[in-house]
Symmetry: D3
Subunit: 335 residues, 6 copies
């Protein structure tokens, strides 16, 4: 597999153990994450070659982040460093009907300083074939939007496959740019759309429903308006409660609609990064597997498996994901 | 909300982490609790003003208890101190069909020394409007019965609302007093009865069944025999196993019978203090919400949420409880 | 109860806490186990007198193992010591559809050195009435096969009841001996067969199905071919996923077929050692309870309860197992 | 003792346990601190009445901070809340010749938003007699300088004792204000100067040496130039290495120079907040003890004791500090 | 070595990790101890055969205590069980000049119920040759005094060596018995006196100083007044501070005065149980080594080594103690 | 700096936290180490480019090891994988006069299988300039000796600098090879000798004393007999006890004898890997610093700093080591 490039903020996640709240214990755990990095690390865990581009703090927390990324074999040579602190988020894991809580400290982070001049895209894209981006990055600052756009432009020119997960999070987007306009600009460089009805309605200005028929219509309209986009993949979560979810996926690849069965996750360990696990599964599958449906099935099983790992990152290997697809969903012991 | 007064023993709870037994690990966690304190802290977490009255040990464990109570903003100014040690209980959390185990060390605790002369009820009740008691306190010693009774008498005279959770635990009541007689005496000062068929049968000497019809009959009889009592609220637990419970509630407020839907708690984290969470929800709801049914619904959701927190105390806020009532039982992430 | 003798390797189990993988945290927990030791400790927890025979390392890890075994009151006086290290296994607990992973480091362990000359069977069996063995021990080395065989021969001569759990694990058996031949030799000393269709097919060279009819046929054939065997007990696991199992048992005691109801384990804590818990329950039950069916029911409930304890060993007492059989599967609090 | 008011940023401190670095373990502990809050909590631990004024985040981290402050009985009623995140610092504890490392994330914290309009000084100072400030607060933002100045002006007018610890930290002071000018302005409201030669040279523009003679000369000049200042107290640390320090103190109270003996701290547990412990000891001592020297001795012993507690805060009681002064420096067991 | 019998209360010790206070963390560790049990376990760690006699609680805490004692190979067959809870003590480890704090919860513990009728001394002493007691046991209740006395009387009659560590702790002795009188009675059965000037002054009613000359005089007087006593051993601690101690020992064996060199313990890990380690070393040494001086040297090194282990119990082996005596005090690595 | 190649076994180290023994807690920590890897990681922490060559297990423990090595930026591309388990060692940290204990489980590890055919030395050495080896590797198996020798031969031919740390550990060397002969063979390829009198006496068959004069004589003789060797560096440890060491170094570089001052390490955190930190400091210094003495000083300070980190590996940066050399041995806080 040729190299996949991911670009986005690296965040330190700090959480109490288990289901505790911060008020209950002064002992907490940290991981590093960030939606695009999560995708990158998961692909590396599938055996892929990955480079992550970001800007981290020039202190021992930044060093710890670099070391964390290196630990998974992701190439850190294109990271840049800033005097500002690394972004942090605090996370309390919910249970049953209790929602999880997140509090971010990222608005003046090291990544918030990023500018096109700080990333050597020409050098960074060398040897790569795939670039992945999400809707978080353009939502942060003008600099992060500009830097991403420059990367996409160059990658497009070099013939990269470009996957977009244009998650729209309204709490971000504070620097003045109109979200719809920004995402429209960036989607024009993209070839794979990873998102559902909400994301399509956001960029199309429509109000399609969640039905499969509407999904197909929306996908067709999306491809019409963004001719570079070839395929649309959507992951659907049904939550019984915070501890019990179901996952399935559907796709429109320009000619065919397909849908997977629900995977039942009766005991959710950690739902952070499960969308990223889906994207990573897709990027792996579209490169390595026979067809789009096989890729989507792989992505869906990868996503389901991520719910069983603590932290932001899917630790599953290809063999483990294929095990699920091969019907081993009863969790037999591997000796 | 005017101040709620709670009175009762403060216990230190010591448990292994997760599902371990003491024999498995020498690393354990402690919390503080006690049924009336749990009610008080939960009301404080709902934004209420609360004062807890008790007697704790005059050593670094007592200091730690005071600091724990203060941490939740509960007023500790009326606590008294004793040379005896704080009561302790050891707790092993069960799972699935394995029951939890409790072992108490409370019979000669600091609270067991309490006497009417040690509590200045006149000063302590100033600024309050509500007093809450449970059947644990009169079961401990003659002194704790007398002290409680003196407080109830004064509170009644001052026009307080008085809520009673007359839990009957037969393992206590060792100092000679007849439980039925004692509870009868104290219920005559009370206005809100929080308890079910077992508690009513105990004080009425009847044997009503668990049916709704019998619940209504029992409530009517109770109100007849204890004319100060205005309303009866009952929380009903159905246990699939130690890890999977359902909670609903019913009430008779003198004129109307109502019942809530079951709330399904598929992954119980900790069931200690869930009855106290119900009582606290009720005390909050009866003061702040539109009607008795709304209060009971709030109490029931508060009780369900408590099952998701480790420790004795409900950490939920009003907003979180209302979230459940608003239909968000799927535990979506709060960003 | 007269003394039960267990013979087999003692392994150190090292696992991350909760559902973590080794790559996620450098803090791990250790226990000691080994299938025969697990049986022995569980019987000791039922109040039985047990002696475990093995060979452990002559260093602080071996000392820690001895101390762990002593902690449960199991007699360690017949252990021998070796300059080689104690066997170790690393274990990552799965969840939902994620399988658990095991990695062994046992092939040159202290136990792998064992030879008939190192165990004084005459002295060790004194005061005993029951010897338990499993298919793991003969699979390890010629020495362990020989030592076990010598013990069985003597025990048989002394009129011991001999229970066999002839688990067949194909990854072992590397020293040249043919598994079927070895197990056949050893089963000829045994009186109780604890195993299912797979184990019977293995030693009989048949291919019976999992149906009850086939189970009965297989059992009859087994008893025909191994006349010392009197009874066959089989534990059946149905896995919804790694976190949700069901357990039931069936038996053929030469004259009667019986089957228990499924016990539903909705939240599996740790499945290691659950088969050993079944065997221990059976050994206890066949000695202490009224009949074979009662023993099998006890064994089945013991097995189910083991799923709720971390580590290799069933910590349940007789009272706790009987509680389940008495219908208390809702996990009520024991005060 | 009448109420002491402290004003300053509340920071969350996150550190690995023991001597570990972040790169070594993902399990860390958090405390809350901040130089002025440390002083306030220590005074509360001496039994004093304390109110802390600050601006914390309006999320579960801010709630946890409030709860932490309440736990020590410090009045939190004057705290205000901001949408920005609470300031954080990461801390790696050094050992022997290895220095400790600190990395701050505070430049856009909730406190950085503070403005005079957000603090009701009139109400907040009611019932108080003493206000304590440090050189950190005016170094942060124009708003924090202005807010502090307004408080000092009012406190001065109300006849408060005002203690200043004008620590000069050159890494701060980024908003444009000249440090010397700012400190000069604020010192003109102050009555007790807690600082050494460096701080005096900074505000006087002199270059006195560390000798006692120079200390006396510098103090005299300081009092001449800042006539509101009555007394100067200086704590002197001699470090053998990161794990072995010595502490002594000296003073000039306008008429008398005194110096304490070195206290030898052979095994430093945590040196953060030891200067704050000195200031707190002084504020307690100047109110409660016989004379300035007794206050300084108390402060010096308090400072030494703080080196034995983990976290930012001195947990010692008056009795424990007096124990040291009474000659019990051998750490006998208190039963 | 023939069996050593120890008799006394088993206490659960609960402490925060490291130097933390209870107020700082809700995660704590527990051990079991008690002065006589500590002696017993240490002797077992030296390879001795030991039986401990006590009364523990009949619940899962008592079971955990029994399992803890068994873990070290100490015979638990003579323990009795009570419905009262096991005694507990809470312990905060000091550092440098900060004293450690202890708080006991033992006055109504399971051991406080002990009566002569509950111990079968005849059976318990069978196979033993040595009985060890301390001044804690007679200080607790009339029942514990009586039970001990009965055991001593029988042991004396059977020709046991009886070692006494008559520690006088004034905070105990609340049941009415005069300490001097009680100790006098019990010392009349004893042959080895382990104690210093304070203990001798207490029982003799004298006021000898700490000098060697006075030690010799006091010992002579003691032996005169208690003719069964043959030898006196005294351990002397010099504390630089809570983290730095020195240990030496001296003896009068009726004919000879000897003294050991100071052992310098520069980094005390845990000082609880160090006196018990001395007693255990002595009991081992007097049985196994050449002469009284060798025994005292062994005891002194054992005592010093105990300062390096967490918990109440000396975990050192004979080989490790002899290593110290052989001059290896530089802590070289044992491969 | 051009790439440094290290070759040797990777071991998993498992230890209790703090000063605990395995018998005291079932919670332990793991790190990875191995003398040559420790050198490699330390050089990587100094900013050097490093490749480590070894053979690890083909399971999740091997993966965790690879991830650990990658985390420090060390090149893992030349690692090979084996079906055997990774070597393990168990380690109990001593304190004061208590020695640390080590127990190895390495004799049949994945590395023990290594053969020349498994390492592509030609490819592996490409881009390198320096190869480091120690006396542990040739002591393990014939295969490891042969593989190392082949690497040395090729590296020598390519003009590499070859540093040798010929530590002689008599407990190894079990496969039949004569240590002196083996080391002699390998030293003939080496240019830098890192070792002291013991190592020189071992290979020379002499018995020089520890004096500086003897060190010079021995070094001269060594260079005479091994003409490829150019320089000899010796690190000298003086242990006050297990918690208090002193470190200095001396050298003979063919023309000059130099010696550094003692560095006093009053509170040793972990002494494992301190010799490796010295070697790494030397390899860094000889490449980057002005002269041999500067390199030795750097190495000595690096070695001293390592005593302050838990685990096998020196985490110090160049800046931190230079800080010590610049006189900052008092551990001031780095903000």
């Amino acid at each position: 597999m040729s190299q996949v490039i991911t670009f986005g903020e690296v965040l330190m996640r700090i959480s109490p153990r288990g289901h505790k709240k911060f008020i209950q214990s002064n002992m907490v755990e940290f991981y590093f994450g960030g939606t695009e990095l999560n995708v990158g690390i998961s692909i590396a865990n599938f055996g892929g070659s990955v480079k992550h581009i970001s800007c981290v703090s020039d202190d021992f927390i930044g060093e710890t982040a670099v070391s964390y990324i290196s630990k998974f074999g992701v190439d850190t040579s294109a990271l840049c460093f800033s005097k500002r602190p690394l972004g942090v988020y605090f996370f309390e894991v919910g249970a049953v009907m209790r929602p999880s809580n997140i509090s971010y400290n990222r608005s003046h982070s090291s990544f918030s300083e990023i500018l096109p001049s700080m990333v050597n895209w020409e050098a960074s894209l060398e040897g790569g074939k795939w670039l992945h981006w999400t809707g978080i990055t353009p939502a942060l600052t003008q600099g992060s939007f500009d830097t991403l756009k420059e990367g996409l432009k160059l990658a497009k020119a070099k013939g990269f496959t470009i996957s977009a997960d244009p998650t729209y999070r309204s709490g971000l987007w504070k620097y003045g740019k109109d979200p719809k306009e920004a995402l429209t600009e960036l989607l024009n460089y993209s070839t794979i759309f990873i998102g559902g009805i909400n994301e399509m309605n956001e960029v199309l200005g429509t109000d399609f429903s969640y039905s499969n028929d509407d999904f197909i219509e929306a996908s067709k309209l999306l491809i019409e308006q963004f001719p570079s986009i070839e395929k649309v993949f959507d992951k659907i979560r049904t939550s019984v409660n915070a501890s019990w979810h179901k996952i399935r996926a559907r796709m429109w690849n320009g000619s065919e609609f397909r849908e997977t069965e629900d995977l039942d996750i009766t005991h959710v360990v950690d739902r952070i990064g499960t969308g990223d696990a889906f994207a990573a599964g897709l990027i792996h599958g579209l490169q390595e597997l026979d067809n789009d449906y096989a890729a989507m099935e792989f992505a869906s099983a990868a996503c389901a498996l991520k719910h069983t790992y603590e932290g932001d990152v899917n630790l599953a290997t290809v063999k483990e994901v294929l095990g699920i697809l091969g019907g081993n969903t009863s969790g037999r012991l591997n000796r």
